[in-house]
């Protein structure tokens, strides 16, 4: 019989009578003091019972993987079902991940942040954390990538004690933003982002509150997708919980607790060992940039109607103990667009890159978090100091922002001799085609086309990159099928194919991108976005390789397609070479948007309007003049590269064979390449001379506004970067922007 007084304050649910808050603080303190997770010094279980240790791990992981593959089938969303945008993970009471399923690994730590938020804010008392409770979160400032990614988090109890958490995440087709599509933008701040659930209690007794589901239905487009995905995540999380409890039954709760902590400490140590095996200590710089040409875009909010440039001065420092520090010191300020990133997604992005490279393992867990360090200047786009910023398309800055990490790792691999793992980095995942409106079924729909998950991959040290293959956020990229997309989007594919000269040139070429030409059909109108960099390159080559292509916009409004079809005239299938555009040649329009403004606010399209969606190619590696001439000719005959670049770029001389295909003139090519190397030196100058001249331009502040704004913002936010900039250019004290 408990006393009334005790009933007011529930008994702590943590271990040994502690509250979760106390446990979390203790964990932090012990790490602070010892540098080891929970102060774990000796990995007793792993050392004394390696078999049991492995058994427990494979149980938990097996459970997560199976949970995922079963739950997958509940979802209706092709994003979840066919593109696998779904994953599950298990956490300690403090919210540190022990193991995770396959899927979108970017979220392992974001869900961790969401749990820690609940603990920090004392959910243990209000609303309480009890068996069968269901929590939901999609607030990136708390812990998430962006609003479209929704978490379901459930506590796991064992004899009244919180043993840990199971959580799952999916990417939604629509989140009820001010415009359709899962990642709409053009609005100024969070108020347009859509439904927001902030680590909220949304169910008990292992079921959702009906009023919660009803609220969601009322807030989002394509409500069916949302509701089924809620069920998907809850079902999977429950399966993972069941598996964890089965394991506890077999090995005993104390052994299991020991395992949880050792697993993370072991993960931390393994990470350091890996880094010592494959990297070289030192400092690596790899900045990147992206343009936001919104000066004249009437479809975006007034506050955002200006040209902007994102600055991501990524530096990687590998320390003596193997610790890897990523710093964005110098990043410029957040702004009134939807591409701001909270720390959580930045952390997630680092994860997803690590699992594809340095820590390529199914055994990754939060140990990596304790072995890495991420510096995100407060107030920058990567760590906004105003919690009402919009973050619907965080990825737009995040993807280019991290591209340098892969190149920096590549430099380390090169120095260590692991040439087989070097990549020039990934391409950006654009064009992002999304939107919605009254669709072919006569209902208000929303769509996000995930063909972007198949960009060209970066060149390797020993091979060209792959054509249409993967995305930085999902190595298991997949374009899906035309018939699948068309059954959701009221736009016909007039064509989907390889886009020539998109891969970054080099000794080894970046993988080629693709493009799709779409025609609005069977619907009165749709709101559609263009999304991608246009005036800048956002992912760069290495060792003399060039960046992969940047994008452009090519849309036709008010076309003559209907008449052309009736007259059986030629129709566009692909755009191909923009200097000889397939669309312009085969389609007339009242308005033709054909420019470098690759990212624009929501635009209305009407039936028979034509839309180009081009996916990027990967960056290149090495000097193009060192490329095997035969490979260049093969590329041109295969349509990977446009013929006019054979000489200007690769110094390759060709003749036409009788069948029209090109054949190599090896001897002439050698002469041409000799001449080109000499010509390079003739037109080049000493770097010192160039930078002296460039200094004058800096003194004169002779830049377009977005560039000037970017420098100013970075220098205002970061004394360190300010100092670096002034020092490099040797600027007088009175110089300022």
């Amino acid at each position: 019989m408990s006393q009334p007084a005790e009933q007011l304050k529930p008994r702590p649910i943590g271990w040994d009578g502690k509250t979760l808050k106390e446990m979390t603080e203790e964990s932090a303190r012990l790490f602070e003091e010892t540098g080891r997770y929970y102060g774990v010094e000796d990995l007793t279980l792993l050392r004394e019972q390696p078999i049991l240790y492995e058994k427990i791990f494979s149980r938990l992981r097996g459970g997560l993987v199976n949970a995922r593959s079963t739950a997958l089938n509940i979802s209706a969303s092709p994003i979840v079902r066919e593109l696998g945008e779904l994953s599950f993970a298990l956490y300690t009471p403090e919210g540190d991940s022990i193991a995770l399923s396959t899927g979108i690994i970017v979220h392992v730590h974001t869900m961790s942040d969401a749990i820690k938020y609940m603990i920090r804010n004392n959910y243990e008392e209000v609303p309480g954390i009890r068996e069968g409770y269901v929590f939901c979160n999609n607030n990136s400032m708390i812990g998430d990538v962006h609003t479209a990614d929704v978490h379901t988090i459930i506590p796991i109890f064992h004899e009244g004690e919180l043993l840990g958490w199971a959580a799952g995440v999916t990417h939604e087709v629509d989140v009820g933003g001010i415009n359709p599509g899962s990642m709409c933008y053009g609005h100024a701040d969070r108020y347009g982002d859509g439904i927001l659930v902030s680590s909220e209690l949304v169910g008990e007794n292992d079921e959702f509150y009906e009023h919660y589901l009803q609220r969601c239905r009322e807030c989002v487009r394509g409500e069916m997708y949302w509701v089924l995905d809620e069920k998907t995540r809850l079902t999977g999380a429950q399966m993972a919980r069941r598996q964890l409890l089965r394991t506890v039954e077999e090995v005993g709760v104390d052994t299991f607790k020991t395992f949880m902590r050792e697993a993370i400490e072991e993960g931390r140590r393994t990470f350091l060992e890996r880094s010592k095996l494959m990297l070289v200590p030192g400092r690596y710089e790899a900045p990147s940039f992206t343009d936001l040409p919104w000066q004249d875009d009437v479809n975006v909010h007034n506050n955002a109607r200006k040209d902007m440039m994102m600055h991501a001065p990524l530096s990687m420092t590998v320390k003596g103990d193997g610790q890897v520090e990523m710093s964005f010191e110098g990043a410029n300020k957040w702004d009134y667009h939807s591409f701001n990133c909270a720390p959580s997604p930045m952390q997630g992005a680092m994860w997803v890159q690590l699992t594809q490279t340095l820590w390529n393992s199914d055994k990754i867990n939060d140990g990596a978090y304790f072995a890495t360090d991420l510096k995100l200047p407060y107030g920058s786009w990567a760590n906004p100091d105003w919690e009402k910023v919009s973050t619907t398309l965080t990825w737009f800055f995040l993807i280019p922002g991290w591209s340098g990490m892969i190149r920096s790792l590549g430099r380390s691999y090169f120095a260590r001799g692991y040439l087989e793992d070097i990549s020039a980095s990934y391409c950006t995942s654009w064009n992002l085609m999304q939107g919605g409106g009254p669709n072919q079924y006569g209902v208000d729909g929303a769509f996000t086309n995930f063909e972007v998950s198949c960009g060209g991959t970066g060149a390797l040290y020993v091979n060209d990159g792959q054509t249409a293959c993967a995305a930085m956020w999902n190595p298991e990229g997949d374009m899906g099928e035309v018939e699948s997309w068309e059954s959701m989007e009221p736009l016909l594919y007039l064509g989907r194919g390889v886009k020539p000269s998109t891969g970054g040139p080099g000794k080894y070429r970046g993988g080629t991108g693709s493009e799709a030409v779409r025609m609005l059909y069977n619907a009165p109108y749709q709101t559609i976005f263009n999304g991608g960099e246009g005036h800048t390159f956002s992912s760069y080559g290495i060792f003399g390789g060039y960046p992969g292509c940047s994008g452009y916009r090519h849309n036709m409004h008010g076309t003559d397609m209907r008449e052309r079809i009736a007259r059986q005239e030629e129709l566009p299938t692909l755009d191909g070479d923009p200097e000889d555009s397939g669309i312009s040649a085969r389609c007339n329009a009242e308005v033709e948007n054909f420019d470098m403004k690759a990212i624009q606010g929501p635009k209305q399209f009407e039936e028979y309007d034509v839309y180009l969606s081009m996916n990027r190619g990967g960056p290149g590696l090495g000097d193009p003049l060192e490329r095997d001439p035969a490979a260049v000719v093969a590329d041109i005959n295969a349509g990977e590269v446009l013929a006019r670049f054979a000489r200007s770029l690769y110094g390759v001389e060709m003749d036409r064979g009788e069948d029209g295909s090109y054949v190599l003139d090896a001897a002439k090519t050698e002469q041409t390449r000799q001449a080109m190397r000499q010509q390079r030196l003739d037109r080049a100058e000493d770097a010192k001379d160039f930078f002296d001249r460039q200094r004058q331009r800096v003194l004169d502040k002779d830049f377009i506004k977005p560039v000037r704004d970017m420098y100013k913002s970075s220098m205002d936010l970061s004394a360190e970067w300010n100092e670096k900039f002034r020092e490099f250019w040797d600027l007088p004290a009175d110089w300022s922007l």
Partner: protein, 163 residues
């Protein structure tokens, strides 16, 4: 424990390795003796005698001169600067900042715009080979790609300090 012969590593460096062996190399545990074996492969690939102590980038090596100085040196023998400095500041550079110049490399509209970004090409002064490409806004400081901590590396990670 994986380990590879000098000849296999030579093939890797030359890009003549077959697809299956490559995939194995990418998938299997890393061979801890790789560093020193690759040093051999690199050393035999250059005509000069200075001792390579760290491959820095394609065609660029940190060598140890007889006087103990650590110098960044190219395949063709050009000596740029000391290991901790940015070799780019001692190279030849050509900067593309007009659409006409971009047209040699990318289709129009598929390159950056010169007002927003320029392409800096760093060449080896002897061979004219392109060593690195920078794509940055005008006025951006030269990027220092890699500043290795050679002493920590040899002393603490390889367990054999460089004297």
């Amino acid at each position: 424990m994986s380990t590879y012969t000098i000849d296999q590593l030579r093939q890797l460096k030359n890009g003549t390795i077959d697809a299956y062996s490559l995939h194995d190399m990418q998938s299997h545990f890393k061979d801890p003796d790789r560093f020193f074996k690759m040093l051999q492969v690199w050393q035999e690939s250059v005509d000069w005698d200075d001792e390579i102590i760290l491959p820095l980038a394609e065609h660029l090596f940190v060598v140890r001169k007889p006087d103990g100085k650590r110098i960044i040196k190219s395949t063709w023998g050009h000596e740029y600067c000391e290991a901790h400095e940015n070799w780019k500041l001692h190279a030849k550079v050509f900067v593309r900042n007009s659409e006409a110049q971009f047209d040699e490399i990318y289709p129009r509209k598929m390159a950056c715009h010169p007002d927003w970004m320029e392409i800096r090409e760093y060449y080896d002064p002897i061979s004219g080979v392109l060593l690195e490409v920078e794509a940055v806004p005008p006025g951006y400081p030269a990027v220092h790609d890699f500043k290795p901590d050679i002493d920590t590396f040899y002393r603490d990670w390889l367990g054999q300090p460089l004297n």
